[in-house]
Symmetry: C2
Subunit: 432 residues, 2 copies
């Protein structure tokens, strides 16, 4: 448990307290810090006598063989990359729990029928290369390899080796850090019996209800877009509002509208990246580009929000009513689409039974109430894994439900609970 | 006239047509392109037997002596720097008209009592170093030299030598291009008898009324601010709207409000620069900074808009009513303040008489109607010059009233008219 809570040393981000764990993480996918933690992961797994495979997306698979060699291993997987101002648990906890599980099995001399593996998926966050879960997506053959390799990094405040030059592609970044493997990235070359993932909840439900474990049954839908607004550069001091085609003013109205429309349907709509050109105090920006992330509990709802926003944005750009002056153009590009999914009953059962067993001796009257089924608001590599193999996830609480923030926090106890549940779930699944 | 229209070759920007003049300009202050045009200017003026002085702000003064050596020269001044996506006339026309005037005087053997000078003021645009007219401001002793030297360049899309490293200060940039002079930048060390400036209108009044010359009597007030909004980074997919402190959503509401408030008072409010951090599709931005440019015909009106926006932005940040979720903080910094000014009667008269003389043989019934008094919406170095010496300006039409855009355009005829008017105005002033 100490290891789970503490061993996360490459790419420390913004420090927010004095304790060794009171720091954020800044370990963007395929950065030098990511290379360092990968090297550590590979070495650690070799010490645990695992076989290591690195595929064309830089996914690292470490397998401890079981008694039988004719069946694929059951995997524990998650990711070691973080947001630019990320925390110490999102993804990291899931990989470290895998390492911990293999250590514990070693100590206990626990043998399994099939092998047990740990996988570190590349660029799960989608923070550097703007497609989340992209490498599990390629493995599931849901995303073409070439599309993933050609992805360009986003402009970010984080200092990357490539920041000065042209944006780096994912393939170039894989080569640069030495993790462009030669094994095809596919569930066909690297098969799995099942995929389990431990993660912090990233929402407030468990923590505010005082619950210990979430048995994840589903993941909400989301779509990522890149939008470009084209207006006209002009002077801020001499151009009356009605003569402007102000791309940034159009953006401002769009963002306000996006929240209204999403909220009315119980969905979310968020802008994380914005750039306005040419970027001068006294020039009205003629070009704006921004990211739009729409989410909702059902795929159809996300599509409805998208449809309404397409009309609303066209109206705003055409300057009808709201009066931005002269018309702007708005162009949408779909970067990523992740429909809502449901996890596999067998895996959900294994997690549920394991969770109840782990919390069984908690000092409360009704220990069953400490465990609840839950839907994930965030995407995870388990989404793509679930398209090819039985999959489910385990959530543990995080403070205030906050993630993607340096102060993201999961207590030592909660880390330990999660790790125990995932180890049991794997063993239970192996015995079935 | 051909020279005025054509000779502008360093730092060509975005091309929009096939004609040699159908291109924008990208010559940010103290860039390599700025150095090249400065070298050309110095050499050209030396060939015209001018004395050259470069001051501590890199302002270049070129003086052709008159009959008397005991009186200061009358100056024609403007600037050779441009916006990142600027045009070929804003500022440039004013300096080239000065060069042309001295050439014409040479050809005609025209002698003056006092000397006649041409000045190229540094960083008038405020596009790279976010304080417009800063170097005439230092010359007028309205801006402290150290404040100007310490100004840092803004983050811009334009590629500057310093783009990769830390933002360059104005002093460092002056040193780098070899234009950090040793003469004190002050009206006391470099006195003037008067300052005249020719400029494109940058607004639609002359062009839409079919008028040829604007006699500029006044300049509107403006203030530039930098604002910072602090919220909290958090996950876009798992954080309900009411749990967010979304700095970018707060910005969007502020920008929409700024236009409402400014419009209601006949003023302008514009955002030219925006940055949101950390800059990831699936992280709600916790930090936003942006520029705000408020303008109005009277200094008091600009102050009223500022006051209303300070309250409105506080309200938005506090999430009262509009509901951005958790509160953000907003911080204002005043970067630049230019109160409304009126030009000098004597100079205005010289320009008026010269303009009427120049348009006198236009083929229309009422040539007087081709000339009109006008207020400037944009700031100019003449604003600061006017604080120390008699000053006024001449406007000529520009197509669609558009400037700070590559397609900014002033016809060869209009360039020539303006140059004739300024030459006459200088001679008239000299004779008084
Ligand atoms: N868990 C997580 O933050 N994944 C990143 C993909 C997403 O934005 O949901
Ligand atoms: N003329 C001009 O564009 N000057 C720049 C200062 C301003 O923004 O008004």
């Amino acid at each position: 448990a100490r290891d789970l809570h503490h061993s996360c040393q490459w790419g420390s981000g913004i420090r927010w307290g004095n304790d060794p764990t009171e720091t954020g993480m800044q370990r963007l996918a395929l950065s030098d810090e990511d290379r360092e933690v990968r090297d550590w992961f590979v070495q650690t797994m070799k010490n645990l006598k695992c076989q290591i495979t690195v595929d064309e997306m830089g996914n690292i698979f470490a397998v401890k063989p079981g008694r039988r060699t004719d069946v694929p291993a059951t995997f524990i997987g998650s990711h070691l990359d973080t947001q630019p101002t990320g925390g110490r648990y999102d993804g990291i906890l899931g990989v470290l729990a895998g390492v911990e599980a293999l250590k514990r099995m070693d100590e206990l001399g626990l043998e399994t029928e099939g092998g047990v593996g740990v996988v570190n998926w590349t660029n799960e966050e989608g923070a550097r290369f703007p497609m989340s879960m992209v490498s599990s997506g390629v493995w599931a053959e849901c995303i073409p390899l070439s599309k993933a390799h050609d992805l360009k990094e986003v402009p970010t405040v984080a200092s990357l080796p490539s920041a000065a030059s042209a944006p780096e592609t994912m393939k170039a970044a894989l080569e640069r850090i030495g993790y462009l493997g030669d094994v095809p990235c596919s569930y066909k070359s690297i098969p799995m019996a099942a995929h389990f993932e431990l993660h912090i909840e990233q929402g407030p439900h468990l923590i505010s209800a005082g619950q210990r474990v979430g048995v994840v049954t589903a993941v909400q839908a989301y779509r990522w877009f890149r939008l470009e607004i084209t207006g006209r550069d002009t002077h801020t001091g001499t151009t009356a509002f009605e003569h402007r085609a102000d791309a940034l003013y159009a953006f401002a109205q769009m963002m306000v509208r996006a929240r209204e429309v999403a909220a009315a349907k119980g969905c979310l709509a968020s802008v994380g990246i914005i750039e306005a050109a040419p970027g001068s105090v006294n020039t009205v920006p003629g070009r704006v580009s921004f990211s739009l992330d729409i989410r909702g509990p059902e795929t159809a709802l996300v599509a409805e929000v998208e449809d309404e926003l397409r009309s609303a944005f066209d109206e705003i750009a055409a300057a009808e009513g709201a009066g931005i002056g002269k018309p702007c153009q708005v162009k949408w590009t779909l970067d990523f689409d992740s429909p809502a999914i449901k996890f596999h009953e067998d895996c959900i059962d294994c997690v549920q039974e394991s969770a109840l067993a782990v919390v069984a001796d908690a000092p409360v009257a009704d220990t069953k109430a400490l465990v609840r089924p839950i839907m994930s608001g965030a995407g995870h590599d388990s989404v793509f894994a679930s398209k090819r193999v039985p999959t489910s996830m385990i959530f543990v609480p995080c403070r205030d439900g906050v993630s993607h923030h340096p102060e993201e926090f999961c207590s030592e106890d909660d880390c330990a609970t999660g790790a125990s549940v995932i180890l049991q779930a794997v063993v239970r699944y192996d015995r079935r």
